[in-house]
């Protein structure tokens, strides 16, 4: 899933300042799971913004709350059409994708980000999320025992650990495991150390040029918006 952190209320307060009526828009998928922008967080933020307003002399704002199932899909945004007519701006608590899809769907409406989108990852334990995938477009996990060096090595290097690893940790952060030590140990356990000895060539950053697009290869009818 995509993991994000809500921006500080002070920053949110500053970006919504020019708008009187603001829709606080949550997202029911990743942002709900990582606790950055689901229905609950929208409600908490609404409360926090009201408190901020009570303390400030900065105009009178009204806030509307709503959470869609997924902001990254036009299909779920159609439900918003009526609500959008009643506001001057949307504060999206969706990830960076959500913000942009909402902006694309409502071209006349200012859409502001309420979270900092951080990474794709997993819940390691309650309240702790760890990055796991860099979406590089050229997955090599079969060669690295299911542990991604591009994401989990701070340098993203492909041919084994650098000399900075100490006590199994990374030179950049002593709390962070060295990905290459993890890879070596797991390859050893799987009796696949020969994969460690192979030469891996430099990454191909053109696997899919940016911004990336994937078009389904079968049963797809090109639509107007898909040119």
């Amino acid at each position: 899933m995509i993991v994000a952190e809500q921006k500080p209320v002070e920053e949110i307060w500053r970006v919504i300042a020019p708008y009187e009526r603001v829709l606080l828009l949550g997202c029911g998928t990743c942002m709900t799971v990582c606790g950055a922008g689901g229905e609950r967080e929208v409600s908490f933020l609404n409360g926090a913004l009201r408190v901020a307003q009570a303390k400030s002399s900065d105009g009178i704002h009204s806030f509307l709350e709503y959470t869609v199932k997924r902001q990254c899909d036009f299909e779920f945004l159609d439900l918003l059409a009526d609500k959008v007519n009643e506001v001057d701006a949307i504060l999206s608590l969706g990830c960076g994708i959500g913000v942009q899809v909402v902006a694309e769907r409502f071209p006349d409406m200012p859409v502001l980000p309420g979270v900092n989108t951080s990474f794709m990852g997993m819940a390691k334990e309650w309240g702790v999320w760890d990055e796991r995938c860099a979406a590089c477009g050229d997955c090599r996990l079969a060669e690295t025992a299911g542990i991604c060096p591009i994401t989990r090595c701070t340098k993203g290097i492909l041919n084994g650990p650098c000399a900075g690893t100490k006590n199994g940790k990374c030179e950049a952060n002593k709390d962070m495991d060295c990905a290459w030590i993890l890879i070596y140990k797991r390859l050893e356990r799987l009796q696949q150390l020969e994969k460690m000895r192979r030469y891996y060539p430099p990454r191909n950053f053109r696997v899919i040029p940016r911004p990336r697009r994937i078009v389904m290869k079968a049963d797809v009818e090109p639509g107007e918006d898909n040119d």
């Binding site: 900075g164 030179e171 460690m196 000895r197 030469y199």
Partner: protein
């Protein structure tokens, strides 16, 4: 074959001595030039570091040009931290065109340990890929497969960490570096000769020259600081204790004594093919070490 002076020495049976110079933070190169003059005739080659510990400095290529200018033999340290494959190849072409043919290929420290922590880390290549790229350029092609007008020739080196606390993956990488084209290795700092002996028992099967890295410590505090903050350095407790037991102000003297002792033993016991002295900011004392060793 590049026929660089250093490569000729590598191919001889002599005990090799290299050292390194960290370029200044700023455009005033007078102290660096002074150190070059002091060292150039006393060692077989002088490495110039490439933003060591990710601290922005005068460039290693610029330092190597100065070494050439003063009549010394430079080893260009080049890391993958700050340059993508275009810039790395371009720098190698420039180096070769100015007769800088010895290149130490390194991955580079993490940006997080340096003084520009918000910089974008590049790491388009790693050290193994960098070695291979340099070798491929020698065949007259760039990494994109395009023909080079004038192919360079290099004497390539790399680093290895015989005192790593988990050595096996480091040895796997060492072998990859040899396959990729490394002719010589300058090791990370050695403090415990037992680990060097063990490493050499294994490494002597390969046709490469190993120069043991000797770090000159100036105090127990510096040793502990390096243990905590400098990637790839593990100073042994015995060394720290030895440094801690001298009176105030005598730390560097002790450090020189320890370094000289290590070098002497390595040379006498013929443990490896040479030493690489890293005086980290105290370049001026390298001649003293060589005299005592």
């Amino acid at each position: 074959m590049t026929n660089s002076l250093f490569e000729e020495k590598l191919n001889s049976d002599g005990f090799l001595v290299t050292t390194e110079i960290g370029p200044p933070k700023g455009a005033d190169v007078s102290e660096m030039v002074h150190h070059i003059d002091l060292l150039k005739d006393k060692v077989d080659a002088i490495n110039v570091t490439d933003h060591q510990s990710s601290v922005m400095r005068f460039p290693s290529l610029g330092g190597c040009l100065l070494v050439k200018e003063r009549g010394g033999e430079p080893i260009l340290q080049i890391t993958c931290r700050d340059r993508n494959r275009l810039a790395l190849q371009a720098d190698l072409l420039l180096a070769y065109s100015r007769d800088i043919k010895n290149v130490l290929c390194l991955t580079g420290d993490s940006v997080d340990v340096g003084d520009h922590k918000e910089a974008k880390p590049v790491f388009d290549l790693d050290s193994v890929q960098l070695l291979k790229m340099a070798r491929e350029m020698e065949s007259g092609k760039d990494m994109g497969g395009n023909e080079l007008k004038g192919a360079p020739q290099f004497c390539l080196g790399a680093s290895v960490h015989p005192e790593a606390d988990f050595i096996e993956p480091q040895l796997v990488k060492f072998e990859k570096k040899i396959t990729a084209g490394a002719q010589f290795f300058q090791t990370q700092g050695i403090f415990d000769l037992e680990s060097l002996r063990r490493f050499m028992q294994y490494a002597s099967q390969f046709n490469v020259k190993i120069l043991a890295g000797i770090i000159v410590l100036a105090s127990a505090r510096m040793a502990r600081y390096m243990n905590d903050n400098v990637p790839g350095i593990i100073v042994s407790q015995a060394t720290i204790d030895e440094l801690a037991n001298v009176e105030k102000g005598k730390g560097l003297q002790k450090g020189i004594e320890i370094a000289s002792r290590l070098i002497k033993t390595i040379r006498e016991e013929n443990l490896c093919h040479g030493v690489h002295i890293m005086a980290v900011g105290n370049e001026g004392i390298v001649p003293d070490i060589l005299e005592t060793a």
